[in-house]
Amino acid sequence: MKIEIQGINKSFGAVQANADVSVTVASGTIHGLLGENGAGKTTLMRILSGYLQADSGEIRVDGGRLELHSPADAIGQGIGMLHQDPLDVPALSVLDNFALGLHRGFWQRRGRIQRTFFNLCRRFGVQLQPEDRVGNLTVGERQQLELVRLLALGVRVVILDEPTTGISEPQKRLLFETLHRLAEEGLTVIFVSHKLEDVEMLCSVATVLRAGQVVGELRAPFDRERLVEMMFGRAVVAPPFASRCTTREALDIQSLVVESSRMRMAPASLKACAGEVIGLAGLEGSGQRLFMEACAGIRKAQSGHLVIDGVDLTNGRYRDYLDQGVAYVPASRLEEGLVRGLSVREHFVLARQRAGFLVDWEAAEQVASARIAEYSVVGTTGSRVEELSGGNQQRALLSLLPDSLKLLILDHPTRGLDLGSGIWVWQQLHERCLQGTVILFASTDLDELVDNSDRLLVFSGGKVSQPVASAEMSREELGFMIGGVNL
């Protein structure tokens, strides 16, 4: 289907998220949509999927005007969307989420639905257990589930809002192959991403948005520098990684064993120096998260020891971890990191004013406005966190961290961030290393892992490798280890 978006305007209060946006997507193509955080990509796609109503403008499909008042209308027209933050029902099982809205029949026909589900999973290399609770899955697994569900719906236009943030390289290759094949069969794909290499691999055309407006359109083969300049209005280059590692031992983890109802991790050991950055590599759900939660004091370890700056914190109270200067930044921003419904200012009260009875709003306002300016969060201190764009939520989350920390643990620190912001976040983090902070971070992005860390721990199905120096790892070797070879 050919889609013409014409003159779309959409404002949220004072913020104009889309200003006279017009984009034409040809039938059977894979069309990229690029732009920095807060550029208005998600807003535009939500309008196209019927989730939001535009203030003005129209959408035409194959020349005919579409009236989209709700997602039901869009689904009826064969337009489906994978949302940036998984829009599913955490309390229900994988299969229930898959079945929800799938057909109009009366009986569930679980047997038949399960067969469809397994077929699609096999086709796309997705491994999900139908009876697992979706709330227990990783963000990546939830995105995979949504994707499989959309394909089962038989949509003719599929909108993917950053679908590659939670999947592994092999899964990504499978996904791209499938999308290419589906596009040949006539499926129209709109692909929103921050990863230029993904866009290069996949798209034949790309439209760039900046501050709610269309800046321009490029065709494959893309000129990377030109794309970056259109997105940010300037050239963006990452500075090379320089180790801030000292010789003072700051973190000592001995044979830490952590267990959840889903998996039991093999003992993991790690000694790190002040200022060192350790990357945790591996497919999502391979045990990194358990390891990080145990290090952060959120989860009890079955056995082993965790010593930070000479203080044994093993299975201590969470409070003690905080007092020792340990901080954890989880991956799902809106569910674990931030409190929906509270403003940015109120988050600073929660994070900074732990003692005292009355809230010092003035102080909170001061810190909040200084920090969001420093972290270039697009929004005000009064914005509720769910109103911020995905990338700005991540910035807000980072801006909440205390100034001096001994151990900073981050789960996917740049997930959803644009190129410029990603570079900027790593500059901030590396600066913290200068003060002796040890950084542990998990990522599924091999480039991010290798480019930003001193050493790597590779996780695979609950097993953990010895620490290896990042500089000595080729991406290929790393890929093998993540797959479980030579671990």
């Binding site: 939500r46 999927s49 989730y51 939001l52 109503q53 709700s70 997602p71 039901a72 869009a74 689904i75 009826g76 969307m81 949302h83 829009l87 599913d88 029902v89 955490p90 309390a91 229900l92 229930d96 079945a99 929800l100 809205g101 799938l102 057909h103 109009r104 029949g105 009366f106 009986w107 569930q108 009876e131």
Partner: protein
């Protein structure tokens, strides 16, 4: 005690708990859709009065039940509509309606106090009622009792085996996600609140036409509050809500059996004991399904999950606004 007395006691417990089953299941449907209808106690009173009065005046039980269900549905719809369309707080509106409807029932019902009225006939189910022990206790009842059995089973099937039921669970859990999948969240909430309210109305009429016949001031004596508590303790699961209703009925009749045995104990103790015992018993029933599951062989786990899965609907009481 010989077995005949026990069977008769069980039979009367089942019969007298039936209105509570209707009210609990009705509220369960409403809350599963994400709306809290706190007006239950007042709705039940008014429905009990209206149902009895209608049956008395027209001589038709069916008309009595129909009016009661209409009353229950309308009151519930006021709660839902004021939240969805008028941006009012569900809890506040529900509470005000409770008080208001209780007074309305007293006032309008003045003319019908202590009149002898019609009642629903009993009907033994051939075959089933001949079963040893349970036959008489469960299958020698009035028609509404059989209806309540079917309702509990039907609601369970609806929730866990059908597509509309799955959609219902999703709008109470995460309305945004349901909306994104093409489900008209607010319209569905209105529908389920209406159906739930109609069942609450049925509860009122089945009390005044089957259990404690007739009408008097504050006739249903706090049944709405009990129903609300049972829905919570029953984890929004139809079987457990029904179990909770029968348990409460059993505890109450235990009180009246014990009172003559221990005349020295003040009667208030026996009147209040069911409420306290209920909390203890329901805490036990509301045990962690995951814990039960872990102790069973893996093959049975899905079955246990199907029967016991529960939890507060995450979207309960939260307005949903579409963009």
């Amino acid at each position: 005690m010989d077995s005949a007395i026990i069977i008769e006691t069980v039979r009367s417990v089942v019969a007298s708990s039936t209105p509570l089953v209707f009210a609990g299941i009705g509220e369960l449907l409403t809350e599963r859709s994400g709306i809290t209808n706190l007006s239950l106690d007042g709705s039940i009173l008014l429905a009990a009065m209206a149902g009895f009065a209608m049956a008395y005046v027209s001589g038709s039980l069916l008309l009595g039940f129909a009016l009661a269900m209409l009353v229950g549905a309308l009151i519930a719809l006021v709660v839902a509509a004021s939240s969805i369309y008028l941006y009012q707080d569900q809890v506040a509106v529900g509470l005000v309606l409770t008080l208001l409807m209780a007074d309305v029932s007293s006032f309008v019902g003045l003319r019908y106090v202590r009149l002898p009225g019609p009642s629903v006939p009993s009907l033994s189910i051939p075959g089933l009622s001949a079963l040893p022990w349970v036959g008489t206790a469960l299958f020698s009842q009035n028609l509404l009792v059989y209806l309540s059995y079917l309702l509990v089973l039907g609601v369970w099937i609806w929730l866990y085996r059908t597509q509309p039921g799955l959609r219902l669970r999703s709008i109470g859990e995460r309305p945004e996600a349901a909306f994104a999948r093409g489900i008209p969240v607010n319209r569905m909430r209105m529908v389920y609140t209406g159906i739930g309210g109609a069942l609450v109305g049925l509860a009122g009429a089945s009390y005044s036409l089957c259990v404690k016949l007739g009408w008097s001031h504050n006739h249903t004596a706090g049944m709405g509050w009990i129903a609300l508590a049972i829905v919570i303790f029953g984890g929004w699961h139809p079987f457990r809500v029904a179990l909770g209703a029968y348990l409460f009925g059993a505890l109450k009749s235990l009180g009246s059996l014990m009172q003559p045995v221990y005349p020295s104990v003040p009667t208030q103790v026996f009147q209040a004991a069911p409420f306290a015992l209920m909390i203890v018993a329901l805490l036990l029933v509301a045990g962690d399904a995951a814990a039960i599951e872990r102790r069973l062989p893996a093959r049975l786990a899905p079955l246990v999950r199907a029967v016991f899965q529960h939890g507060t609907p995450a979207g309960l009481g939260r307005r949903f606004e579409q963009g």
